[in-house]
Structures are given as structure tokens and as C-alpha cells.
Symmetry: C2
Subunit: 117 residues, 2 copies
DNA sequence: TTCACGTGTAAGAACTTTCTGACATGTGAA
DNA sequence: TTCACATGTCAGAAAGTTCTTACACGTGAA
């Protein structure tokens, strides 16, 4: 499997999604096998709404995939599993990704008005 | 060069440091060669105090290294350069790192008191 | 002495992320 | 009908991050 080469903006999203202890734990738990959210919440020890939010962030970044299924007894269950990803980060690869950033953040033009007094 | 295998806590720090467009641009710029902060600030187009903050975050994560030097004309110059790093992230490696997290975040015990009404 | 250039830091505004505690929906079984 | 269990969402508090403005210090040259 060859490493992904995400665009700058996507890279930021993926890194931000990974940069959180709870979300790391979610991924680690899902790595053992798929699970549905209520059960996963109990497993990890956080509230369901909170888990819901973290899963959204992970899914938006493409790190997990969720599918809504109907269990045998008719309950709607949302199962999540890890999407396998392969990120290789070095000074070089990061620099390349940075080149494709869509100038989102710094916005305003000249700064540092600081008068030397 | 073999990839690093950071502990969970350190991994979160590194990822958080990388998960920002400005900091990505800083790394990309420094990848071309070392630079001192005032010049780098002009280069990137952000204020010096802001850059100072971002550099601190990058240095704390071990992604850049700064050295204070005296220029020929006696000025104190702080030069930064990228530390070369090599992170290989997959579902597996992330899961392993997560296992070493020092239970920092979720803190409180049972949650989801939600009465089923 | 003043200017231009370098360094650092601190206070507060503005914004984003994280988290809790409701509330709403649905199903099947007792 | 009520309970247990599944889903989702929203409002607001709390905490963290980002950013500006302003101040401090230093040097060498005009």
C-alpha cells in the first residue's frame, strides 16, 4: 500500500482529526473490529453525544466509515469501522502539501504594524 | 531513515502542531533553508508575535530547532530550522500509540446519564 | 540622541473546540 | 402502555487556540 498524498487543506483536516486523545482511542478501539456508537461509547467511557461529535470529525476526515444497518430485531444501528489510511509525514512531504494550501487562514495582508518606538 | 514511533501523548502534540495551515507554511518555508524570526515573519506575511507563538508550538513538538546567534554586527538573531522527522501513520500505528496515552482527557468516570424517558 | 533593526513577553479580544444535559425519533418485548 | 435500547440534534457552558496591540530589552549607524 503506497502512502496517500493529500492536498494541504485535506492534510490539515486529517491531522486535526487525529490530534486528539479521545479520537485516537476511538480509532484504536475500532481497529479491533467494527462497533456501533452506543456500545462504543460505553466501551470508551464517554457520553454518546460526545462520541457522536468525534465520530463525525473522524468521518469527515475520511478516517472512519459509518453505515446504518438494521439489526435482526429491527433496531437501527450505526456501525463504524476504520478506513485504512497510510500517511507518511516528513519535512518534505509536509512542505509539498503546504504548497497546495488555499490561503485559508492568515487572510489579511500586511501585518506587524509595530512601531519600533 | 526509519519512521519514529512516538508515545501517544507526544504523537498528539506533534499532530496538533502540524494541524494548522500557518505552521505548515512555516515548515515549508524553513525547508528551503534556515531563517530568523523577523525575516520569516515578513516572508510569510504574519506578525512577529504570532509567528513567535507558532514557532514555540513547533519547537515544543520537536519539529523545528531554534538557536540564538549573534550576527556580525552584534545583533541577537534567533535562527530556526526544520528538525527532520519521519512519521508513518496507519490505523495500526495509531492504535499502538493510543495504547500509551496517559488517560489525560476524558477524566470523569461514567457518563451518559441520559434517562430513556 | 534618535533611528532601524533584532529579540522577548503580556493582556485581552475573537474564535473554535470540547463537553454536558436535555430533547426528539424509532423498534421489540414485557 | 411502559420499558430498554437504538438513533439523531440542539443550546449553552467551559476550555483551549489564535491573533492583535502594546510594551520591554538589546545592538550599530547616522
Amino acid at each position: 500500500m503506497t502512502p496517500d498524498r493529500p492536498s494541504g487543506d485535506h492534510l490539515v483536516e486529517v491531522l486535526a482529526a487525529l490530534a486528539n486523545p479521545i479520537r485516537l482511542r476511538i480509532l484504536a478501539t475500532l481497529a479491533h473490529g467494527r462497533d456501533y456508537v452506543s456500545h462504543l461509547a460505553r466501551e470508551i467511557g464517554i457520553s454518546r453525544p460526545l462520541l457522536h461529535m468525534h465520530l463525525q470529525r473522524l468521518e469527515a476526515a475520511g478516517l472512519v466509515v459509518g453505515t446504518l444497518e438494521l439489526s435482526d430485531d429491527g433496531k437501527a444501528m450505526k456501525y463504524f469501522e476504520v478506513a485504512d489510511f497510510d500517511l507518511h509525514l516528513t519535512a518534505e512531504s509536509v512542505a509539498q502539501a503546504a504548497a497546495t494550501l488555499t490561503r485559508p487562514d492568515p487572510a489579511p495582508g500586511p501585518a506587524d504594524k509595530e512601531k519600533p518606538r
